[in-house]
Amino acid sequence: MINPMRIIQTKNLWALGLYLVLVHHSFTAEPTINPFLEKHCIACHEGANKKGGLDLTLLKVDLNNSDNFSSWVKIHDRIQSGEMPPKNKPRPSETDKAAYTKSLKESLLKTEQAKLAGAGRTGIRRLTRTEYENTIRDLFDMPGIALQGLLPADGSAHGFDKNSDALDISHVNLSKYVEAANLALDLATATRPNPPIVQKRRISLANSGGFVAHIILNGDGVLLKNKKPDPDFPPAAEQSHLDEGAHERMGSFRNGSSVGLFRHEDESVSPYFIEHVTIYPGLYRVRTSLWSYQWDKGQVLPSRGTEAARLSVVQLTGDGRGGQHPSYVLGYYNAPSLESKEHELTTWLNHNEIIGFNTASLAPVANYSRKGRAMAFTGPGIACDWLDIEGPLHSVWPPKSHQTLYGDLLITEFKQAEQKEVRPPQRKAIRQLGAGKNRPDLVTGLWTVKSENPLKDADRLLASFLPKAFRRPVSDDVRKEYVARVEERLKAGDCFETAMRWAYRAALCSPDFLYHVEPDNKLDDYALASRLSYFFWNSMPDSQLLELASKGKLKSKEALRVEVDRLLKDSRSQRFIEDFLGQWLKLRQIAANDPDRGLYPEANPYLQDSMVAETRAYFRELIDKNLDASHLVKSDFVMINEKLAKHYGISGVTGAEIRKVPLPKDCPRGGFLTQAAILKVTANGTTTSPVPRGAFVLERILGERPDPPPPNTPAVEPDVQGATTIREQLAKHRADSSCASCHAKFDPPGFALESFDVIGGFRTRYRSIGEGDKPERGPIDPFINIKFKLGQPVDPSGVMLGDKQFKDIQELQAILAANPERLLKNLLEQFAVYSTGRPIAFSDRDQIANLVEATMKNKAGVRTLLQEFVQSEMFQTR
């Protein structure tokens, strides 16, 4: 409690004023104002001399005001951590400090708990567009339907897009939801009595209508037979081949030859298998045969090792030529030396999607206009024998998506003459873009579901559909509203299918579907099922979760433990890995900038995709093996493929697949911080700076959000000419005392990360486009032209707050790893914000500390942390 007499005795008018403010304003809790602040804080935080912009004499103690509350939390934290008072000032005794922070904490807790009592802490929130797409995919068993692109981008709050603050809704969202629902219902509905005929096509990479035939006429590739040059198609030399059309007509590319390429995808070359342009969205089996070779002016020799080719999916748009960039990558596939290797995958393809190809592991080479073309070229190549594509594949007909909507109703021909008063169902014409040789089937007649008893069937179908779509039981009243809609449309003359579509579309655009519906405070079983599934699958709960919920068994500790393990084991948990890391570690920003080609000529899409794959695989390993929190910053292994191994200077790794590799002694890798993906997302493509990287470590790994820079503070721009180092520039910047205190926190880890360039390569000297020495080639491909120079040396040493010194990244890793509680606490907070859709509150702190302690006590790791968290009140409360 506040003691007015004591304040008066201090003869400090500011404190008296503060007291008057306190007693004359209503608030639910009061921080204890005692001489502590006056003795240790006021001198620096008062009037014109206020440090860090904080004037304690003006700070109101109305804790119901969220800004004030935040300020007092910060004061609490700074004092408790020992950061304040600063080192050069008299230190308070531990007893005084504890007493003051305890008192302040109680006031803060009391205020917050009173504020939060009776209401759910998680705001009403809609599905993110990723959640929306995944939910539709799972609801209809259409695992690749693309809907995200239709919806407006979500915002982000507290680091994630799942927070209600980031999930506003506008008329644009609403109209797009209608559009997306229509598309989903179009694709889900079977409109023919039999499935589309499965078409199987073998396609040469030099297929007609594609780019490849053209470039191999000019020496960027060759035709090969029996691992030798095709005798009927000599490699382009001083003369190139004439007239692509003449070669196509003569069958040069249809004689079973393999296509060997030296060139990879670039601004003017897009190697596509364009003879298949998807007409019917669905699952397709894709097989291809790949190998590699060393080309030596007309001779095919063993290659330098296993090369990697990329298969991707490209959405044709507009004129059907594609957008120069793949919509998404299917994978990277090994091409062994002179040995054809077959690869097979089954993937969903959407309308007008095609398969793209890239010689991913090759350096940029263009013989096209070079003297002597292929016959003057010596270098690696990747050959594609063929690509088979087969589909659409349906295990049942009508497909599950249709059965979800129309159950077992028969699909019959709609004959207008027999029902003149009924409007037929609408069908869209199939429009195939590009040069596909696959053709739509001939379907005669108009086919649709038939109901002998429409209202009864509508009731039955909606009784099955609505609980799935809404992820919880649906009352009879609600269902009847939807049935009434069907009845209304039937009376208006629509056929049964169209009438049902109205109801289904309404359901998919309703708040029951679009929003996470959770009761205030304690979650019920169904809300818990959804919270679990949207956490670990980023999608709706499956039938097992809903069944457990319906039986009231989900909340038992054992059932929850089993379910978490099951959800994590399921392939859908990869969505959690990707979505969570995309935001927590900013992997979504991996392509936010292209590395400068002069400084980082070795950067390419294969390296970038490998970086992301590494971080995802590493996180998966932490969960699967339940590795402890120190692994967030330090490990004795990495998850890499050949591309990354070369990038990291690790030998003995062959092939495109990511695998666990022990770290060689003294290798400066391990943990998230030294992963190339993290180092890339914290750089700008040209230069690195300890400031953003240090801030990333502080905020994302250690859980301490740095204050934003004061207004009008210019950014420190690194010097790419190589004259001065960033450390020298920052030293000047830190001379300003207003900058020093914050930079003292985040610069040090940033300094250690200066050992890594913008693409995560290890360095002891900065690359420069101006001054410097000629570099050694190192792991850079011999076909890459090196223009950069080696400039100033890197100094990765620093001193962490608390006087812990380090000389390099490994010593920093050791410092950070020595405090696993802090790492675990931050990770738990990230999980909590991500899964509950709300920020961490002051009153969550004790619970977080308990969960961390429980995990630490068992010497357990990330998986245990997830298990403990899911069992917690924090997870199970709205």
């Binding site: 198609f233 382009a236 001083e238 003369q239 081949h241 004439l242 070669h247 007509r249």
Partner: protein, 188 residues
């Protein structure tokens, strides 16, 4: 084998040649100019295609004159076609079957002794499709009655109607289409 002058004249005027010989009563022999026979091995390619046909037989190929004789029952094969449409129909069928690498034209109306043979030296890849491409260029010039091309031999030949075209025109056309000519043989 004799053909009356009157019939010859009529057939030539109609743009095709009908040869009634000792075959089935319904079948006729038709001699035509062949497009796409730019080297001797093209006869094999042509036969590979026509061997697949059940209703038309390729009886002979005269590479030297780029002519061939087909045997078929026109009434059965093209029942609604007028006589002057038969060669067009046959050409369509062959083009469809050969991906337009072969074609048929009526026999030339220019007397052979009026045609001039020219040779053009070329440099390029020893590739059949490239030869076809260069042949296409030359054969497409008005006044070229017949042509051959072989990059292996580095030679394009053409029988031209001097009233309509000349060697330099062919050379210019080839150059414009990126065919490299042997410089020492180019018409000055």
């Amino acid at each position: 084998m004799t053909i009356s002058n009157a019939l010859m004249k009529t057939a030539m005027t109609m743009g095709f040649l009908l040869v009634a010989l000792n075959v089935h009563a319904e079948e006729t022999k038709t001699k035509v100019r062949l497009f796409g026979v730019f080297s001797p091995d093209r006869e094999k390619d042509l036969r590979k295609i026509t061997d697949e046909w059940t209703d038309i037989k390729l009886e002979s190929v005269d590479f030297k004159h780029a002519e061939g004789v087909f045997v078929f029952d026109a009434d059965k094969l093209f029942p609604k076609a007028k006589p002057e449409q038969i060669i067009t129909n046959l050409d369509n069928k062959l083009r469809t079957s050969s991906n337009s690498t072969f074609g048929i034209k009526p026999l030339s109306t220019v007397a052979k002794d009026k045609l001039v043979r020219i040779e053009i030296g070329v440099v390029g890849l020893d590739c059949k499709a490239c030869s076809f491409a260069a042949y296409n260029i030359v054969a497409g010039v008005d006044g070229v009655e017949q042509a051959t091309c072989s990059f292996k031999d580095g030679l394009i030949t053409a029988l031209i109607d001097p009233a309509k075209t000349q060697k330099s025109v062919l050379e210019d056309t080839l150059k414009k289409r990126n065919v490299t000519l042997k410089q020492d043989q180019v018409t000055k």
